[in-house]
């Protein structure tokens, strides 16, 4: 069924109660051409673009829990493409362009709202970095501007721009096309669109072992039986090393908890996204009205989906100093997700040289959500053609042998 105003109107006669399931519940078949491990945003996007751009390919997504139950449903939903280096900017800008038409492409409202993203500067060095990054963005055709304190005061009246605070705001960069999207809708939209193109979405199906013979992937042993596969793409974020161990390889990633929290819902008070790397906090207001606040990375590594309270304390102090009006807002929920951090704060989108037919898309670390459509698109083409998509080529895993790293620590919003 194509969702449209006419369908909403017709469903009104039955009280909006008779909508069909968005995608069917299926059991695994005996064999597929491609299995995507991980039913988060990136995995579902990969499956969707594979099925759409390589018709006839039999594709399945296997997910150990439920669709979008991992980091896709745990992030702070920010979308931007203002990275520093050409390779990263091209990849994130490719994603941004896909975001701009995504609701139409998927026939599903992902509630993409280009409300602008501000990155604040608090020191002279911050301002030099901001200037450099804005210039780099403009050279790459990405919208970016430097905003003065006076202008910031005008655009975001509730932002504290006085000089009496510990780290006064000295200015900001702004990407007007940046914004937020509804994270659950992104997972559901991709799942529904992928299923429409014939992808089997198999939930509650955990991969337990990889069947590798003669340096080639043959299939996966899962909690729902053995599934034969010609090619396997792993998109499992914080658990990438666990999958890699099944293939007998190691990855240049380390898993860390990353925390976020939301407040009680309030009337509209903040119309844009404000991030500060120096005092460390970022905040936006969701359409529901709650403040969505992201904290820094917990410095220790691990897989426990919770972090330490002092990280929340540090972030909340920063937010309250930037927005004194929020000082008495009560927080509703706090949680942690497990992110896989790469040494250069850039992802790995790559075939695995040691195992033919095995591909990894991982290492997105603290900022993968914004890249969901672009990541899925270039990874789908990398798998479909067994050759890195031109935008994915710089993110080949071989860069950790050649040393051609892409140092994006400055543009990753979360300090590592």
């Amino acid at each position: 069924m194509k969702y449209s105003w006419l369908e909403v109107f017709k469903a009104g006669f039955s009280g909006q109660k008779e909508w069909p399931a968005a995608w069917p519940e299926v059991s695994p078949k005996a064999a597929y051409d491609v299995i995507i491990v991980g039913g988060g945003g990136h995995g579902l996007a990969t499956a969707y673009y594979l099925a759409r751009d390589f018709p006839g390919t039999r594709v399945a997504v296997v997910e150990k829990g439920w669709i979008g139950g991992g980091n896709t449903g745990r992030n702070t939903t920010i979308v931007r493409s203002n990275y520093l280096w050409d390779e990263a900017t091209n990849l994130y800008e490719h994603s941004m362009k896909l975001w701009e038409g995504l609701s139409g492409d998927l026939n599903f409202n992902v509630m993409f709202s280009q409300r602008g993203v501000y990155n604040l500067g608090h020191t002279l060095q911050d301002m030099r970095d901001i200037e450099r990054r804005v210039n780099a963005n403009m050279l790459n055709g990405v919208d970016a501007e430097i905003v003065s304190v006076a202008e910031l005061k005008d655009r975001i009246p509730i932002l504290e721009t006085g000089k009496h605070v510990r780290y006064p705001v000295m200015g900001a960069s702004c990407q007007p096309r940046g914004g937020v999207a509804r994270h659950d809708a992104v997972a559901w939209g991709f799942a529904r669109a992928a299923a429409k193109h014939g992808v089997d979405i198999i939930q509650n199906c955990e991969v337990q072992a990889m069947d590798i013979d003669g340096g080639r992937i043959k299939g996966l042993q899962t909690s729902r039986g053995y599934i034969k596969a010609d090619r396997v793409g792993c998109v499992t974020a914080g658990h990438s090393s666990v999958l890699a161990a099944m293939a007998g390889i190691r990855l240049p990633v380390t898993s860390h908890p990353l925390q976020a929290f939301v407040s009680e819902p309030m009337k509209p008070v903040l119309h844009t996204v404000v991030m500060s790397n120096a005092v460390h906090g970022y905040v936006s207001q969701s359409d529901k009205g709650d403040l969505v606040i992201g904290a820094g990375l917990d410095p220790y590594s691990g897989y426990s989906q919770r972090g330490s309270p002092h990280i929340i304390d540090h972030c909340a102090s920063a937010i309250v100093e930037l927005f004194p009006i929020f000082s008495r807002v009560r927080l509703n929920r706090q949680w942690g997700g497990i992110v896989d951090v790469c040494p250069d704060a850039c992802p790995i989108i790559s075939p695995i040289p040691q195992v033919k037919g095995l591909y990894f898309n991982c290492g997105w670390g603290t900022g993968g959500f914004k890249a969901t459509p672009g990541s899925g698109h270039v990874f789908a083409h990398t798998i479909g053609q067994d050759k890195s998509h031109p935008l994915a080529a710089p993110f080949h895993i071989n860069r950790f042998v050649t040393g051609a790293l892409i140092d994006e620590h400055g543009a990753a919003a979360v300090a590592h």
Binding site: S241, V242, R250, P299, G302, P309, H310, F400
Partner: protein
């Protein structure tokens, strides 16, 4: 929040005084190794789920490095030991 016993200071102190310095017992390869071996040593990590051996520094205390054996899913700490104690064991 971890509360960690420093084997050198002999005190239980808050996590904020410490810094996790990654997997313990990583061996540096010989300098005539291949680029692959060097890349593996510099960048690749086992990053296991469950029981791990990590090196931590008491960075705001005695600044010494030591080893924590812990479960990185439940955050349970099994043992805190000096590097010397592993040498003696071997």
């Amino acid at each position: 929040m971890f509360i960690i016993h420093c084997p050198y200071c002999g005190e239980l102190r808050d996590e904020q005084e410490y810094r996790c310095a990654g997997e313990a017992f990583i061996q540096r390869p010989r300098l005539d190794c291949t680029d692959e071996q060097w890349g593996d040593y510099v960048f690749n990590r086992t990053n296991p789920k469950g029981r791990v051996l990590e090196q931590w520094a008491h960075s705001a205390g005695c600044r010494k490095l030591f080893v924590i054996e812990r479960n990185n899913v439940t955050n349970e700490i099994y043992a805190v030991r000096t590097f010397e104690s592993y040498k003696e064991q071997a």
